[in-house]
C-alpha cells in the first residue's frame, strides 16, 4: 500500500468523498423551492415558426400565490407561452424554471403535470364519453403510473374531495351524466373542476369565460380570486371587463415579448399599451 503514490491516493479519496452525492444519483426533489417567492421563471424565451417570431426574448416572473392576467392581441404569444411552459412546444432558446429547482424545458407534458402545473385549454376538452365523476377521478392527484392505476381504488378522502369539487363547480346533480352531454359553460366548469381536483401549484387558464353567461362569468371570477394565495393562477383572457374584475397584476404581451406589467390602472395609462392594444377600445370608450 505504501508504494502507492500518495498523490493518487489523495485524489482518489477526494474523488470518492464519503459525503459525495453524484448528481444523477440524487433523488429529484418533488417539492418546489420557492424561497425567493417566485414560482415561475421565464427568461429569454425565443421561438419562431417558419421565420415568424412567436416568442421574442420573453421574460416573465410570477410570484408564488399570485393571480396574474396575461393579455395581448391575437398572435401576441399568450397561448404559445403556455404551450412552452406545459411542454407541448419546444422553444428555440431560453430557460423556464418552476421554482428554483425544476427545469421545465427537459420534461415532457406528463412530468410537468405531475409536478403540479395544471392547464385549461381555450376550447373546453373534457372526456366526453365518460361521466362527470369519472372525469374528475381521472384528474385526481394520484400515482399515475400504469400498475398503480390498474390496482387503484378511490379512498373515502378522494371521494369527499371529488364531491367537494362537484359542489364548487355546480355539477353535483350531474355527476353521472356523460360529460359530452353538458352545455358549453358546464364543460368549461368541469374543466376547471378537473384542475381543482388535481390540487396543482400553478394553474394556467386559457380564456375561462369564453361562451359563459354574465352570471357564470361572475362566479368564475369569484372562484379564481378565491384560489389565489393558496395557488398561483395565470389567466389568459380577452374579456377586459373580466380581467378588470379579477386582476391584481396584468402583463401585456405584444409580438412575443412583454410590453408592460403592472396594475390594471397603470396598464391603462401606459402609453405603449394604449397605442398597440387598448388604443381602439380606449378611443371607442371616449366616443361612447
Amino acid at each position: 500500500m505504501s508504494t502507492l503514490p500518495s498523490k493518487t491516493l489523495d485524489s482518489t479519496r477526494e474523488f470518492f468523498r464519503r459525503d459525495q452525492v453524484w448528481p444523477f444519483l440524487a433523488p429529484e426533489q418533488a417539492t418546489v423551492n420557492v424561497d425567493n417567492q417566485v414560482i415561475l421563471y421565464v427568461e429569454g424565451l425565443n421561438l419562431s415558426f417558419d421565420g415568424f417570431k412567436a416568442l421574442n426574448n420573453l421574460n416573465l416572473y410570477v410570484n408564488d400565490g399570485e393571480l396574474r392576467c396575461l393579455i395581448g392581441a391575437n398572435g401576441a404569444g399568450k397561448t404559445t407561452l403556455m404551450d412552452v411552459i406545459t411542454g407541448k412546444t419546444q422553444c428555440d432558446s431560453g430557460t423556464v424554471f418552476f421554482g428554483q429547482n425544476h427545469n421545465l424545458l427537459n420534461k415532457d407534458e406528463a412530468e410537468i403535470a405531475q409536478l403540479g402545473i395544471g392547464r385549461k385549454f381555450q376550447k373546453p376538452t373534457v372526456f366526453e364519453e365518460q361521466t362527470v365523476f369519472d372525469n374528475l377521478e381521472l384528474s385526481l392527484k394520484t400515482d399515475k403510473r400504469v400498475l398503480p392505476t390498474l390496482f387503484s381504488r378511490l379512498t373515502p378522502t378522494q371521494i369527499d374531495r371529488i364531491d367537494e369539487v362537484l359542489k364548487t363547480i355546480g355539477l353535483a346533480k350531474h355527476r353521472f351524466m356523460l360529460a359530452g352531454a353538458l352545455s358549453h359553460g358546464q364543460k368549461q366548469w368541469l374543466e376547471i373542476g378537473m384542475l381543482l381536483v388535481a390540487e396543482p401549484r400553478l394553474l394556467l387558464i386559457d380564456e375561462p369565460v369564453a361562451g359563459m353567461t354574465a352570471q357564470e362569468t361572475e362566479r368564475t371570477a369569484e372562484l379564481l380570486t378565491s384560489l389565489a394565495g393558496e395557488r398561483t393562477v395565470i389567466v389568459v383572457e380577452h374579456d377586459m371587463e373580466f380581467v378588470r374584475s379579477i386582476a391584481r397584476t396584468v402583463t401585456v404581451l405584444h409580438q412575443g415579448s412583454v410590453l408592460a406589467e403592472g396594475t390594471m390602472n397603470q396598464i391603462q395609462s401606459n402609453k405603449d399599451v394604449i397605442e398597440v392594444y387598448l388604443g381602439e377600445e380606449a378611443a371607442a370608450g371616449e366616443h361612447a
Partner: protein
Amino acid sequence: MTRLTAWFSEGRSTGKHTLPFVVILLSVTILASAANLFLPADSAFYVSTYTITLLGKYLCYAMLALAVDIIWGYCGILSLGHGAFFALGGYAMGMYLMRQIGDRGVYGNPLLPDFMVFLDWKELPWFWLGMDQFWFAMLMAVLVPGLLAFVFGWLAFRSRVTGVYLSIMTQALTYALLLAFFRNEMGFGGNNGLTDFKEILGFSLQADSTRVALFLITAILLAVIFVVSQKILSSRLGKVVLAIRDSESRSRFIGYRTDRYKVWLFVYSAVIAGIAGALYVPQVGIINPGEFSPINSIEMVIWVAVGGRGTLIGAVIGALLVNYAKTRFTAIMPDAWLFALGAMFVLVTLYLPKGLMGLYGQLKAKRNSVMNKESQA
C-alpha cells in the same frame, strides 16, 4: 397477491353482460361436448366432431376479436396486423406439435421434422431447441407475440405515431412476417407451414375426446380472458385508456404517460392473440404463412366492427356471426364471400357505426321511450 384478490373481489362493476355471457358460453360448450361424447351418432341431438372442431375454431376467432377490440374499440389504436401475433402463437404451438411427431414422419427421422430432412438439414436450428417441451412452447406462444408487440409499440407510441400511419405500419409488420415465413431458409416449413400433427401431450389429435377437450379448454380460456379484460377495462386504468382514445393530449396534460399505457395494452392484446393462435393450431391441424396475410388481419377488424367495437361482448358476437356466415357462404358461393364481407363492412360503417351491440342499444332506447309515452298517456 392479497392486492390482486382484493382487486378482483372489489365492487367495481364487471359489466352487466359478463355473467350471462360466461354462463351461456360454458353451458353451450358443455352441452355440445356431452352431446358429442355420450350420444349415439344416429341420435337427433348428436353433435358431430366436425361441428365441435368448427365451434372451437370460432371460439379462437372470438378470442382474437377480443384482442383487437381491446386495442381498437377501447384505445382507438387500429391495428391491421393482429394476425401476426395470432400466427406467431400458432407457430409456437405448431413447432411443439411438429416435434411430438418424432420418428413417425414420412422420412422417419427421430429428431428433424420432415421439411428439414427434405431440405437436407443435418441438425435442428437453435430456435427449435426446447420446443419439444409443452411448457416451453406455451411460454413462447405468449412471450414471442408479447415481445414483438412491446418492441413495436415502444418504438411507435414513444415517437407518437398514431392514426392511419400506425395502421399502415402494423399492416407492413404482418406483411413482412408473411414474406419471411414463406422462405424455406427461415426454418418454419416455408410455404407449406407446419402440419401432419399426430398428438398433443400424448393424446391423439384425431380422437373425439381430444377434440372435445381442446374445445372445452378454448371456451374456458375465452371466459377467463373475457372476465379479466372486463375487470381491467372497468378499473381506473380502463378509464385512462378511454381517455387516451378520446383525447390523448388532454390525458398527457393531466399527467398520464399515455405512451406507456398504450404499449402495455398493446402487449396485453398481442398476448391474447398469441394464446388464440396456440389454441387454433391443434384444432385446425395446420399453420402456414397464410395466417400472416394482411387480409386476415383486416377481416378481424370487420368482425369487431360488425359486433360493435368498444364492447367486449360485441367483439365476440361479431366474430361468431361473421365466421358462421363465412362457413355457410363459402359452401354455397365461395367466390362471392369477399364481396359479401366488403358489403357487410360498408353497411355496418354506414348504418351501424356501433355495430350490432349499438343496434341493440338503439332498439332498447326506442322501446323505453315508447313505453314512457304510453305510461304518460
